[in-house]
Amino acid sequence: MSVREPLTVQVLLFARYAEEAGTDSLTLEVPSGSTVGGVLDLVRARLSRPHALPPRPLVALNRSQTDLLSEVRSGDELAILPPVAGG
């Protein structure tokens, strides 16, 4: 696979973020070498109210909490998590 080939990332949205996006799941093609932060920018661009997704939301890559600088790989599951409110 060439280094320039785009990656496919599954983005999961929950609660308020899913409402803002009008969906709880997006499949995005992103450039090779993209970071979590880069994927978030693409998600934000699709929202009618982009500011509804804060600059540094909680994010989990393949079900483990991560940060905006992590690089994504093809097939990754990136979850964008509003502040949790269980209990």
């Binding site: 079900r63 509003p82 949790v84």
Partner: protein, 148 residues
Amino acid sequence: MSAAPRRVVETSLDAGELRALVTDSGHGAVVLFEGVVRDSHQGHSVTSLEYTAYLPMAEVTLEDIIHEAQRRWRVRVEVRHRIGRLTVGESSVLVVAAGAHREESFLACRHVIDEVKARVPIWKRERYADGREVWVDPTVPTLPGESG
């Protein structure tokens, strides 16, 4: 998820069943925490709640929290969190901690519910008597008039 129990469930919670999973004949002190849907929240009259979860991560996080508590204290711990729609008076979460003595059972139970509320990816949407529905965000107080 292999044979691990499902701890995030859509059915009503049973404290007696959960207690039976962790107690043994060396245990002298069982502490149970039960979270219950209240009829009000920050001045709003609540009629029902809806919990939603990022299920696979919620299960992994609960397992981590339980193992951490069991390493820190000599106790056995179990947790169940209900999701879906709940009405006032129904239980949303159960934590049971069983140990030889009450000190460790109380500490473990309190620690686990605090961690559950802080770390497990579960969200809560409140439905108010006036018909509005609001996602609860513990990081900012809900303002009257603000909506979902």
